[in-house]
Amino acid sequence: MIMFYLCLAFSVLWVVNFIYLFLLDRQQKDIRRRLEARAQH
């Protein structure tokens, strides 16, 4: 059970940080797409 908690703690560290990185990447791509669309009009 102790090993489970250890794995859980490191998984939380990795998963939370990488989900946030993924979200930032998506936000950045979306905003660039909107800026490009605006520049074309």
């Binding site: 908690y5 703690a9 939380v12 905003i31 909107r34």
Partner: protein
Amino acid sequence: MLLASTWMALMLGQIEPVQRNIIYAHIPSSICALLCFVVVLVASIGYLRTSKPQWDIVASAAAEVGTILATVLNLTGMIFSRAEWGVWWTPSPRLISAGLLWFLYVVYLILRSSIRGPRYLQARVCAVFGIIAFLDVPMVYISARFIPDVHRANFSFETGPQKLALFMGIGAIMILSAVFIWLKTDILRDQNKLERESAS
């Protein structure tokens, strides 16, 4: 670097008993969350002094990244608490102040997205709230040192690999949070540009 620090912590720098190795995930997030909130404080003061929107953008980005790290800090702390003391949470000064810290910056982010009206007003209110919310940061730091607490004031890392694993973890999370703040600042700047163009 994060991968290397995790490997170092779990393979070379092991602490006995096993559950105490959770602090390799907990301490770097704690330090970096508190540093992000220092950035929020500095940027908020900078905005109130100069009224330059760049300061507001940096404060907003640092608050968001700090909240993410404070989430990791509280979650890993809860897991450590369960493994070490058998409970998910207990009302100790350090745990209450850390929980309050997370709550205050979540309120900061909600406040930022909910204030309607001119942008300068939103930025000014958030800067004032950012300064007030920072008052909890020294509380988190000093709570376990000056008030009797189940949470230890500090952990000693005796061997070289243990110290190296900890410093690599801190370095990795510090670089990661700097990248997060930089990316978020970029996004917010582009968003402002888009809003300005839409308005004109």
